[in-house]
Amino acid sequence: MKILIVEDEPDLLESIAQSLEKESFLVEKAMDFDTALDKLLIYEYDCILLDIGLPNGSGLDLLKELKKENRKGSVIIISAKDSLDDKLAGLDLGADDYLVKPFHLAELNARVRSVLRRKKFGGQNTVELRNVSIDFSARTVKINKADLVLNRKEFDILTYFVSNKNRLVNKTSLAEHVWGDQIDEADNFEFIYSQIKNLRKKLKDHNAKIEIQAVYGLGYKLIET
């Protein structure tokens, strides 16, 4: 799958590109308005990561151009401005998601996976990972065809890990994804440990061929066994 990153900050662009390449995406980069516009008009992308503040133009104008050309690619706006107006304008213009800098790469992965799933699979929004099958629309999980009952948070944790399989997931990133931005700074997120423990136990009890490993000092990692 092809992703275009439009971002004027070279270091940030490089990090995002590296992270997405690890996910086996085909990544293209553009650092200014004109390059981005050229690429967008010539090629088709599955997903476009769009910075709003660009030299010689606004990302929002690119978005307008894109919609005028009726391109199918999903658009995720990445902006340094956590401004409601920008967010609404972006979503109104047809962006699929809006991410505020700074973000965790794991969160970006999850968002990219999510918009791609929504576009590509049409009605069928399921992901298979070894013997685990996750239906994102129905929010159900099956292991070896047997239902695995998860509460809302456990489901969110599992899907976040699945979107970031084999990647290191920082516990702050996990907490913010599952419990929301507002829960931040609460006791260093020690409390998520008990949730992970429950989820691990359920996966193990159902002989899932995936496992959540702790990475000491940082977070967790989902691996296939």
Partner: protein
Amino acid sequence: MKLINYTLLYTSIALLFIVGGWAGIFYVNMLDEIYDSIDDGLSNSKLLIIKKAQTDSTLLHKKYFGESNYSIQQISAENVSAVRDLYKDTLMYMDHEEEYEPVRLLTTTFSVSGNTLYELKIISSMVEEDDLIEDLLYAVLWLYVVLIVSVVVVNIIVLRKVWKPFYRLIDYLQQYRLGGESDKVPVGTTVREFRLLSETVSVLLERNLEVYNSQKQFIENASHELQTPLAISINKLELLAERSDVSEEQLQTIGHVIQSLERLTRLNKSLLLLSKIENKQFAVEETINFNGLVKKVMEDFIDLAEFKEVKLVCHEEGELVRYMNKDLAEILLTNLLKNAVVHNVPGGTVDITVQKDSFTIVNTGAPKALNEEKLFSRFYKESIEKGTTGLGLSIVKAILDLYKGSVTYTFSGKHIMVIHI
């Protein structure tokens, strides 16, 4: 002390001395004039009596005052006093008053047919000094009272009228909030000093507002500019942590650095949020049911509360519905609840009571009261809880200020926050 009382105090003290001094001088002068006029009368009588005595010798035998006001006695030459005319004050028994009354007495000597010497005493009834002083005292007192009353009346009228622009300015300044919506400084007056005052205040406020705005803008810009370097740092470290050649020890260090950067991010976001609230950038408002919102936010904290062994209970005693920005309402509740849970003790409780126009959060925690004055100021931290920004309650305060609500903190074994909104 009010200006009117202040003026009055000084005016009355000054008037006391002025009127008192004036009364003294007036009394002395008047007495002097009275003596003068009595003495003139006595002197005139003397001349008339001596003239008559030259022709009418019966007069020479009038040894006692009796019914008239003079007496004549023959005296020897040795007894003649050195002073020709001697005026003096003395007392004389008055039949009708039945007491001794002061009189003016003129003693003089004259001779009839060259060698016989006679002493002539003439009296004239005198002013009663004590009566005069008393009358004068009353008159002065009345004058004093009338003066003070006039001063009060004049002062009140003058203060009401002349000082009106001044009091209007004070009212204006009392209601003035830096960065809040205010009318222009009231100027309408012809008094030069007051106009100057108004203009000076106006310039001062404008300059303050400018500094305040540029400072707000600075915080916002600085926060925005920090986002990108923070993003780069965190993302680079995340990629670094994923490399296979990183040792476990290095991984831990990376973890610590990421945590610090995340903390910086949160601080930055909180500052940005504060400045946005103060800049009124949360325009979209809707009807918020706090009862529902409280339950939703509580749900978010269930896991944290369980981990901390804290019990969350919601009591609904009324329905609290307000028209405000939804994000801010949620941030308000989240920050308060987060505080109540994070600064709690194992086995503690958090009770939230929702009423018609307020809600109360009561929680267990440190067994001593927090500093109420500093509690809501930025970066104030009572505990050494790691990872907190010290901005949570400042944000609460800012949101409540925006919606003209209030928060009060009290301690009675438990920490109590009452929020009126």
